[in-house]
Symmetry: C2
Subunit: 439 residues, 2 copies
């Protein structure tokens, strides 16, 4: 398995991060020790929980955040920043510490998803890139989790690449896998992350041939009887009959991509059974979302292919995470909490800890977010922050399978109301402990 | 200006494109001459027109669609396709023809945005990548166009990088520029596409310093009096007073990022004028969309910074374009039109032409989409398809400035109802001419 291209990530950054840096370098404040926090102020409207994804991608991106000659030339030629700033950037290498919620964990309003501690200069320039990755990947994983929950044990296959930016597609396939999807159509996700891929044929393949029979023969002959035949190009009943005639009762699956999928699935299941193809699976695709998946729960469907609604976050394509300075070094070397005073955009100053409070049956009861030292653990509080980067070295890398397993167990811990797809309140209340020292 | 990394784009592709290819190669049908069409079945609900973007990126991506050893190893090791298919892919180089709507052009339901003519094998494998690029970039440009229209002559600055996938962010900045935005915060968009960038400072910069005065002094000293001061960290009135005191009446701009932006803008304008800073501009940011921009039309605002709603397509993050086989070579070498029979997913067989019909005052009246030869031009029909690739060579590359100019003139041609932001019907009816020969 190869990695994503090792190009520099340094310019996937907002202009103002570097002009702030320039001004802070000149003022002598750039080296003040600082704590930044990445967090959500709320869940998307009506959602009951969110899912953290993108952690592994963010760690890769931090490692590749370097200002090489090509990058510096862009900044110099564009007069984006001055020479002392260029000199400082040329040596940039993140040397601080990062803690965060591990990948696949669920989150709630004000969960401190990432805490970056470094000099202001080193930490501020990571703002845009960290937000891009977390906001996108977590939006996809949060939607995907609702879909896999609605599908129960039936597999969900991610096939949305064509409906989103070609690189967002790869990250989407990865995030969906973390949240329980079993496979993707996206070959780059296989290449970069080892996500299993699947796929057989489209309507164009049938139309290329002189008849549906020619097309099915060609597909079965090349891909084997275990293949999935797309049966709605002309007439579904005739196509199912033909498919079983040509492939025999070992035909792997048929795919339905239009019409009333519930009714059709019942009809096709009866037909397949009558033809002796009792093990042939029925896969449905066509603008599915978590609600459509749930509605098909009683239909004889064996798998869901999900595209548009997955890669667009099922109505919520971004998470609204923000990255705020919450504490910084004072003149005397001590750390002080900071927060801006805005009524509509609240942030809470101070370096946070975070715990998931569980009851004696292991069911989650609250998200506890506090400032200072965490309370002595009474055995039912699960710490949520893990070290991701220590002294500039990535220490939090793990396999996608580990993230996938964490998501499953973390979701199972939630109260049953988390399973409700209807709009509602967050299933865990966030309890804030400790007062920030206002500056 | 450097180009995007020259990595292979071949695996930004759905698995099934390659299994279809394998089956068609084995059946001897892969080399049939084929015409694929990329088109929308409809506009997003309530939208009155759409904007084509991503053309230049698609041409770059086609050139980089090559199966090098690394790519082939992924397909071989994963047993995605068989050896004859791997051999064929190793030599892949698109050698066909592509026509399309040029970048920045507006579109309507069934506008044939891209027409690809090549062997089935060469054309089918481009499906996923072309759809990804066009669906994403056109969604962003379509939203951006409504925003720049609502802003009239006031500049719109794209600053949504943090709210979308880090690479989608670069493409979004590019698409927004095509649709009339004047600048972006995204430095990679400067690097790759020469889009102007802008930005000064965030709340974290103010909070880093011991006081707002220290922060403003640091910023003005380093970035000059023409800088934009962010004035809502603590108290807006005090910050505006301080900013003009420190920078003098030549202070470039102040930025408002919270609160009731309309009221605040009036209040700050009065204060600036009273302080003699009559040329200091007021820039507003904070969850703006086309409706908020329009609502601020009467407020003394000099520029809009737009983030989340731009990069998420203002409610419509994807366009729903599809890529369908519409004609192919028959056994006797003639081309036949093809289309699947599905009531809910209509496509129209046959190779298309497309014209914008204008009235004698130069106002667009209809989108004319036909099969076969276009009618003799009566002087008021503007042909919409231009050659993009000829015999595998890219011939349709142009500057972003050209696309930007085209968008402006193409939008100005539309009836006045195109300016309405409320939900409504497409402003041009699509007239279909000629009957497809059904196969």
């Amino acid at each position: 398995m190869t990695r994503a291209p090792a190009a520099s990530t340094a310019l996937l950054t907002d202009h103002y991060e570097l002009t702030m840096l320039q001004a802070a370098l000149a003022a002598g404040t750039a080296h003040r020790r600082s704590v930044f926090e990445l967090f959500p102020r709320r869940l998307p409207e009506g959602r009951r929980y969110g899912v953290v994804a993108g952690v592994g991608r963010a760690l890769d991106a931090i490692e590749r955040f370097r200002f090489d000659d090509d990058v510096l030339a862009v900044l110099r030629d564009g007069e984006v920043v001055d020479q002392p700033t260029l000199d400082w950037l040329a040596d940039y290498r993140f040397s601080g510490d990062v803690w965060g919620y591990p990948e696949g964990e669920v989150y709630f309003p004000y969960s401190p998803l990432v805490i970056v501690e470094a000099s202001f200069a080193e930490a501020v320039v990571l703002e845009t890139l960290l937000l891009s990755i977390y906001n996108h990947d977590s939006a996809i994983a949060s939607a995907a989790s609702r879909m896999t929950m609605a599908a129960h044990d039936r597999p969900c296959i991610e096939m949305g690449a064509r409906r989103t930016h070609e690189e967002a597609a790869v990250a989407s396939a990865r995030a969906a896998y973390v949240a329980g999807f079993t496979a993707t159509s996206n070959l780059a996700a296989r290449q970069r992350y080892g996500v299993p891929t699947a796929g057989t044929s489209a309507h164009s393949f049938t139309l290329l041939h002189d008849s549906e029979e020619d097309a099915f023969r060609a597909q079965i002959s090349s891909l084997g009887t275990g293949t999935t035949l797309l049966v709605d190009t002309y007439d579904v009943t005739e196509a199912v009959r033909l498919g079983v005639e040509l492939a025999g009762p070992d035909l792997g699956a048929v795919r339905l991509d239009s019409g009333d999928l519930g009714d059709l699935a019942h009809q096709v299941r009866r037909q397949l059974d009558e033809l002796g193809a009792t093990k042939t699976r029925i896969v449905v695709t066509s603008d599915l979302d978590e609600f459509a998946i749930a509605a098909l729960g009683a239909a004889p469907v064996d798998g869901y292919g999900v595209g548009t609604e997955l890669v667009t976050g099922s109505g919520h394509p971004t998470c609204g995470f923000v990255y705020k300075l919450v504490a910084r070094e004072d003149d005397d070397g001590s750390m002080v909490s900071v927060a801006k005073k805005s009524k509509d955009k609240i942030s809470i100053g101070g370096r946070k800890y975070a715990l998931r409070r569980l009851n004696h049956r292991g069911v989650a009861e609250a998200e506890v977010v506090g400032i200072g030292e965490p309370p002595v653990n009474d055995g039912n509080d699960r710490p949520l922050l893990v070290p991701l980067v220590r002294g500039g070295e990535v220490v939090g890398r793990e396999s996608l399978e580990a993230a996938r397993a964490r998501h499953r167990s973390s979701r199972e811990e939630l109260p049953l109301t988390a399973r409700m797809l209807s709009k509602g309140e967050t299933v865990l209340e966030t309890i804030h402990i400790g007062e920030p020292e206002h500056h």
